[in-house]
Point group: C2
Chain length 225, copies 2
C-alpha cells in the first residue's frame, strides 16, 4: 500500500506518519519506483504503536526513539523493560531522594529482585518523600499493602506478555503496558475508591448522589461478590 493508505488505515494524519518516517520511528517502505515506496501491515502496526506512545502515552520523540530502538534490537526482554521504564518515568536519581524514604521503600519490597538503580525504586521513594513533605505520616501498613498489590499487578503484566508470540510482539506489549498501564490502573483505582467510600460513608437509606441505576442503599445489597 502507499503511505497515504497507511495514514487512512490508522487514522493518523499523513504529515504525522511522514514525521515518524523521518525520525526513524517507522521503518522505511520497500522502494517500488524511484520516488515511491510500498508499505505493509507491519508499517500499519508500527504507526499505531508509535502513535500510542507519543499521542496517548505522552512520550517525547526522543524517548519514543529509544523505546523503538529497544524493540527492534535483539537485546533480552529484561533490558527492553528497563528502557521502557526509564522512558516512561519521571527522572529521579539517588541524589534527589532521601535515605529514609528509600528505606521505607526497601522495607516493603524486601526480597524483590529489583534493580537498586532502577527507576521504580527511586520514583517510589520520591513519592514517599512528597507525602512526608506534605506533612502526612502514612504508616508501614499502607505502604506494604500497596507493594503487595503492585506485585499482583506485575505478575498479571508479565503473564500478559507471556501470551504474546515472538520477541517483537512481547517487546511491544512491554513498552505499551509500561507507558499506558499506569493510566489504566489509576482509573480503576479511582472507581474502586468510589465503591469503597460509597460502601463505608454513605448513610444507609440515602443513595449516593450519582448512584448507578438499580442501586439499593440497604446495607449489604450491593456488596461485591
Amino acid at each position: 500500500m502507499k503511505i497515504s493508505e497507511v495514514s487512512r488505515a490508522t487514522g493518523v494524519p499523513l504529515s504525522t506518519v511522514k514525521m515518524y518516517l523521518r525520525e526513524g520511528l517507522l521503518q522505511p517502505g520497500e522502494k517500488s519506483q524511484p520516488n515511491q515506496a510500498t508499505y505493509g501491515p507491519e508499517h500499519v502496526q508500527r504507526v499505531r504503536l508509535v502513535n500510542g506512545l507519543i499521542r496517548v502515552g505522552g512520550l517525547s520523540v526522543a524517548a519514543a526513539q529509544e523505546v523503538i530502538a529497544a524493540i527492534d534490537s535483539d537485546q533480552p526482554l529484561v533490558q527492553t523493560f528497563g528502557v521502557a521504564q526509564r522512558a516512561a518515568t519521571t527522572k529521579h536519581s539517588r541524589e534527589s531522594v532521601e535515605d529514609e524514604d528509600l528505606a521505607t521503600v526497601d522495607a516493603v519490597t524486601a526480597g524483590w529482585l529489583s534493580n537498586p538503580q532502577g527507576p521504580g525504586r527511586y520514583a517510589a521513594a520520591a513519592a514517599v518523600g512528597a507525602f512526608e513533605a506534605a506533612g502526612q505520616r502514612n504508616g508501614a501498613d499502607w505502604y506494604q499493602r500497596l507493594a503487595n498489590a503492585a506485585m499482583l499487578v506485575a505478575e498479571a503484566d508479565l503473564d500478559l506478555i507471556d501470551t504474546r508470540s515472538g520477541r517483537e510482539e512481547k517487546a511491544e506489549t512491554v513498552v505499551l503496558g509500561t507507558v499506558l498501564g499506569d493510566a489504566l490502573f489509576s482509573g480503576l483505582r479511582r472507581a474502586a475508591q468510589e465503591h469503597v467510600s460509597n460502601t463505608r460513608y454513605v448513610t444507609p437509606g440515602s443513595a449516593p448522589r450519582h448512584a448507578p441505576t438499580g442501586y439499593d442503599a440497604r446495607p449489604g445489597t450491593n456488596e461485591r461478590t
Copy 2:
C-alpha cells in the same frame, strides 16, 4: 510566627507562600498590627499541603483552589473524594470514550458502587481505547486482575483515611492520597515488574545486570516469601 518563619519552617520560598495567601490557598493570619499578621502551626501544615498538591502533584492553582475549598467545606468526605479525583485526573467525558471500551471496564468492575459519570470509569475506558488503538488486544483476564488489585489498593487507601482523626485530617489524606498516590503505586509496580521479569527471564547461572548485592541466580533462592 511571622510569614517569613512559615517560609523557613516549610522550606517553601517566601514569594510562593505569599502567592498561596493571595490566591486563597492559605488562610489569612491573625492581624496583630495594621501591617502585620501572626501565623500558627495550622498555616505551616497548609503550606506543606498546598506545596505537595502544586509542586509535586502537578495541580494547577485553579485545581488546587477547588481541592482546598473542598477540604475547608463541611461537605461529606465522599464529595471531597470526587473533587480531588476530578482535579487529579485527565479530563475524559462520555463523548471522548468508545462504547466498547466502557463495556470492557464495566465488565471487570461489575457490582462496584462507582459513579457512572465518575472520572475513574472514563479514565480507565480511555486507557483501554488507547491499547486498542495501538493494536494491542489485552484479553479480559489482565483487565480483571488489574481491577481486583485496584480494589485491594482502594481498601488500603480508605483504611489509611480511617486512621486520621477529624474531618479535616481525613480530607487532607483523601486529597494527597489521590494526587500523589498514583506516582507511588507506579514506582512500586515498576520495581515489582523488575522482580518478576528477573525471576522469569534471567537464565539461571547469570545474575541480572544490576543484581542487588547478595543476589543468587540459582532458581528459587531469591523468591519472595
